[in-house]
Subunit: 149 residues, 2 copies
Amino acid sequence: MDFQERASQAIRDSGGRMTAQRQIIVELLADAHEDLDADGLFQQAHACDTSISLATVYRTLNTLEAAGLVRQHYNSRDHDRKVYQLIEADAGYHFTCRNCRRVIHFESALVQQIKQMLEMEFGVQVMNACVCMDGLCPDCQTAQLIKGA
Amino acid sequence: MDFQERASQAIRDSGGRMTAQRQIIVELLADAHEDLDADGLFQQAHACDTSISLATVYRTLNTLEAAGLVRQHYNSRDHDRKVYQLIEADAGYHFTCRNCRRVIHFESALVQQIKQMLEMEFGVQVMNACVCMDGLCPDCQTAQLIKGA
DNA sequence: TACGTTATTGCAACTCGTTCTCAATAAGAG
DNA sequence: CTCTTATTGAGAACGAGTTGCAATAACGTA
């Protein structure tokens, strides 16, 4: 059962309806090679169906997240927008350079360990983790030193 | 040298001026027992000096953060507002229940390990880490089960 | 297959944290 | 004390995300 079938299933199980708009959004998410934000998704969806609205994109993303099909992240240092990815995709995390805004993607088993610690220690069920780091990339550290000298 | 002196120093070093408004905000931050958001800080500052403006609070917080004196976090699941704390305070992280919004504060050496890994592997200098977890607290897990049955 | 209920949609107006503009003020070097 | 210019207060502006409402359409049922 692929993602789209599972999505239909999950939506219907919770009393929802699988509409053409949701179908489009689900397909775009399943085909995405990188995290997408609501507006990017809207641009793409609009190319398929010019009548689709941004509000529907937001509502669908929230529905999918509530159904446990999609994960919401904040990647950038200033958390200025949410990005979305399939729950089954590898969760990647991001470091953003304060100065040049370069983004470095990383993965780490340590995040998983933090989740486990929380589940063990507090009995919670962790459903999403947002890990954003920021600071200076190697280039900007050097630039900073030169400027300071 | 306490925080306020260091703050004055750092601000002056970068060509800034230590104003009465900044003094108030720095004091409030130094005395805070918990993370504060801009509005909370504004309320308190307003009690000291009714003429202080919210814009100044925001500007000062950004100045302090750029000077490396203050840390910005997002604690809640929806990242709806930034909270601030002294850089020298213990950085705590937060788990938020999706259902009842209860917040569980936690600390973990693992976050520190992630920073070290990034510094080793990519040569970056990590200046801030935002780690937000969400999911279901023990009570809401139980409630969920009952509802589903 | 047609019907009726009601979830979903598009649109536009709205929310609200945060930033910006700009004229007025004041810090602090000289 | 003076001059330069960083900083301020007030309010407008910004922008991601949400919401109210009337119109539309999904899908269980007859």
